[in-house]
């Protein structure tokens, strides 16, 4: 801080081991009593340099490192990487695979937003909704276990296809889940928004103007809560998002509560998307024969490709450069949570510690992704 002798500021290190920093975020706070004067996020405690590891492996092997980036929304990470890799390697997945990927990505979006809601409640000191939320999330993860044998880091998709096809039983189970989920979702939603204390803790807190948000590179539900209707699924449709009918929820309130409501509305839209996708799911092969298992390690790519997808946190971009060999020459990941976190110092000027915790909770941080 500037040399202000009349005040004594407290320097406080919040994290990396702290209950409300969702992993390993460290915040250097400068406090004037209870008021936060300055925040400096320090990141990198979970840094594994996945980008370098990707350069050492075949194109198909890089996928598992993407699972471990946003481990709460792993399916969306896989979609993001494969969008780029398939463009670079000139492999078009069959139609059925595209629909299956949409279903998985949207189910995972539901799971990820649910986890966020639970963790956000914990940040505000609500313990009870956490369990209601995780009960529902567990159902999604059970579906994943049945489809691909793994809960979180699924490694389900592969270049040009998916690991296993859907069968009738799985489709029935997903439909069963979709039938009862909206009711539960409303129950969870009411647990939060019908609580006056929750409203008073979130309303008009952490206001983010759209121009500032764009300048800081904020994307995803945070940007949409500021009133900018940017959703890659609409603006540059990938997979088959142009063939399903859904709306992009936005809010003009710009505060923490708006981010909460936007995320819940997105879950409702995801339910809608999955329902449509299950109806439209075509028959056909579940992998591209050009990328079957024996050929997968011989795929060569040249040139550079940037593909963006809408992950659960925002615009997830993958930039791959190939040099004509079987390994990528350079992989760079645009991590939405990394960019969203960079706006935290701006949002937390002159707020109370309690509000700063609410704001940092509303960003939806997953440190596997921020640090990569």
């Amino acid at each position: 801080m500037e040399s202000d002798l009349t005040h004594k500021y407290i320097e406080l290190n919040m994290g990396p081991q702290h209950p409300s920093t969702h992993g390993v975020l460290r915040l250097k706070l400068t406090l004037d009593g209870e008021t936060v004067k300055k925040v400096e996020p320090v990141i990198g405690y979970l840094h594994r340099n996945a980008e370098k590891i990707c350069e050492l492996d075949f194109y198909c092997d890089a996928l598992i490192y993407f699972d471990r980036m946003d481990y709460v929304g792993a399916m969306n990470m896989e979609v993001g990487y494969l969008e780029a890799a398939e463009k670079l390697l000139n492999i078009e997945p069959p139609e059925r695979v595209k629909w299956i990927r949409v279903i998985m990505a949207e189910l995972n979006r539901i799971a990820s937003h649910l986890v966020w809601a639970g963790a956000f409640g914990l940040d505000l000191g609500m313990l009870t909704p956490f369990f209601y939320v995780f009960e529902e999330r567990e159902k999604v993860l059970n579906l994943f276990t049945e489809i691909c044998g793994s809960r979180q880091e699924t490694n389900y998709m592969s270049i040009g296809g998916v690991y296993q096809d859907f069968n009738d039983k799985i489709i029935y189970r997903i439909k069963e889940f979709l039938d009862e989920f909206p009711k539960k979702l409303e129950e969870i939603y009411n647990l939060f928004v019908k609580n006056d204390v929750f409203i008073s803790r979130t309303k008009n807190i952490g206001i983010l103007e759209p121009e500032v948000a764009l300048s800081y590179g904020v994307t995803g539900p945070m940007l949409r809560a500021s009133g900018v209707p940017y959703d890659v699924r609409k603006d540059e449709p990938y997979l088959v998002y142009d063939k399903v009918n859904f709306t992009v929820p936005i809010s003009r309130k710009k505060d923490v509560l708006a981010r909460f409501i936007v995320r819940f509305e997105e879950m409702r839209q995801s339910v809608k998307i999955v329902k449509q996708a299950l109806e439209k799911l075509p028959d056909g092969p579940y992998f591209n024969p050009k990328a079957r298992k024996s050929l997968m390690i011989r795929l060569r790519g040249e040139g550079d490709v940037f593909a963006r997808t809408e992950s659960t946190k925002g615009e997830f971009g993958v930039y791959i450069v190939g040099d004509g060999s079987v390994k990528p020459y350079r992989v760079h990941v645009r991590s939405p949570a990394f960019k969203n976190l960079s706006v935290l110092p701006y949002l937390s000027r002159d707020v109370l510690i309690a509000d700063m915790v609410a704001i940092s909770g509303s960003i939806d941080l997953v440190f596997g992704e921020v640090d990569r």
């Binding site: 407290i10 406080l12 702290h18 209950p19 409300s20 406090l31 209870e34 409640g121 914990l122 940040d123 505000l124 000191g125 609500m126 313990l127 009870t128 956490f130 369990f131 209601y132 009960e135 609580n195 204390v197 929750f198 008073s200 803790r201 109370l352 510690i353 309690a354 509000d355 915790v357």
Partner: protein, 346 residues
């Protein structure tokens, strides 16, 4: 005849003074055991209740239905190495949890427990000013909170204890004002209005009905003092790790933990004594104590439900609520009580 004199009568073969001294010791032991058992039972009940609310099972491994879980936790805390921070102020650091714990246990002495079957009245000690002593003991507890935070050489702890004390002080005033209204009511019918037993006996109609405003103020102030979850800004775990108890571990942490639950129970007991008629009820000479317990448990369940269903209130909003709304309300309550007493309604 209270418990003390009865024990002294039994021991009277030892002579007058030895009998009384021994009776005091026995009585203190009884109170300590009672308080500990009650608080342990409450922790168990809380965990089961919380599990029920959150669709979980709760403790079910140690003993039948997990009844011994609290005992196991206590044993674990006693065994644990007490890790103390560097740069602490040693004596206050060690005294702080004791202040809270001892003040809590002593608070249990002055509650009028009422009669139970052939045991007669269970009230431990009679005093003409037991109300004053009780609230003095309660007012000591923030000192322990403040000390524990300031001397443990931790910024979280300092912030937490400052928050906690700011909250405690701002709710002390409305609480005492509403107690003053109680004393006014009791003085209209009773020779010794500062005696808790007298206050209970004055309540043909529970005071909660006669002065609902005071009941409301006291309920909120008591919740603020007990500092359970929506009001636990002092140790808000998502902001300040655990506030003033951050640097405590082992048995000393256990004392703070018991202090939290004990304050909820003691506060509920005081509330039911002052406002809900204490041990009054049908067949008061046989089951008075049971009535008190039932009333206390109802208040405890209400408190726990608030605990489990609310997010944490922000400290500045809560403190300003205390000064801006609760204080005027308690003054209005005082004036209304004055009318009640003058009008002879009470």
């Amino acid at each position: 005849m209270n418990l003390l004199t009865r024990i002294a009568t039994i021991l009277s073969f030892l002579g007058h003074y030895p009998a009384y001294i021994l009776a005091y010791i026995i009585e203190t032991l009884i109170v300590i055991i009672f308080a500990t058992v009650v608080v342990a039972g409450m922790v168990y009940f809380f965990r089961k209740y919380m599990a029920r609310v959150q669709m979980r099972i709760g403790p079910n491994r140690v003993g039948k239905f997990g009844i011994l879980q609290v005992m196991a936790d206590g044993l674990k805390l006693i065994q644990k190495e007490s890790i103390m921070p560097q740069g602490r102020d040693d004596l206050p650091y060690k005294v702080a949890p004791l202040i809270i714990f001892i003040a809590l246990i002593m608070g249990f002495i002055f509650i009028p427990y009422g009669p139970l079957a052939w045991l007669g009245t269970l009230t431990v000690t009679h005093s003409d000013v037991s109300l004053v002593i009780l609230f003095a003991l309660i007012a000591i507890m923030p000192i322990g909170e403040l000390l524990s935070g300031i001397v443990s050489n931790n910024k979280y702890a300092v912030l937490g204890s400052l928050r906690g004390v700011a909250k405690d002080v701002s709710f002390e005033v409305p609480m005492m004002l509403s107690v003053l209204a109680i004393v006014m009511m009791a003085s209209a019918r009773n020779a010794s209005p500062l005696d808790l037993n007298g206050i209970v006996q004055a309540q043909n109609i529970p005071f909660a009905i006669l002065e609902p405003l005071g009941f409301f103020v006291f309920l909120i102030s008591m919740a603020a003092r007990a500092s359970y979850s929506p009001f636990d800004m002092g140790e808000s775990d998502s902001e300040l790790v655990t506030g003033n108890t951050t640097e405590y571990s082992g048995l000393r942490f256990g004392m703070f933990y018991l202090g939290l639950f004990g304050t909820i129970f003691l506060g509920s007991m005081i509330l039911s004594t002052l406002y809900l008629g204490g041990y009054n009820g049908p067949f008061v000479n046989y089951v008075g104590f049971i009535w008190l317990l039932i009333k206390t448990l109802v208040i405890v369940v209400i408190s726990l439900t608030i605990w489990l269903s609310m997010p944490r209130v922000r400290i500045d909003k809560f403190v300003s609520f205390g000064w801006k709304y609760l204080l005027p309300i308690s003054f209005i309550n005082l004036v209304l009580t004055g009318f009640l007493v003058l009008g002879g309604i009470s």
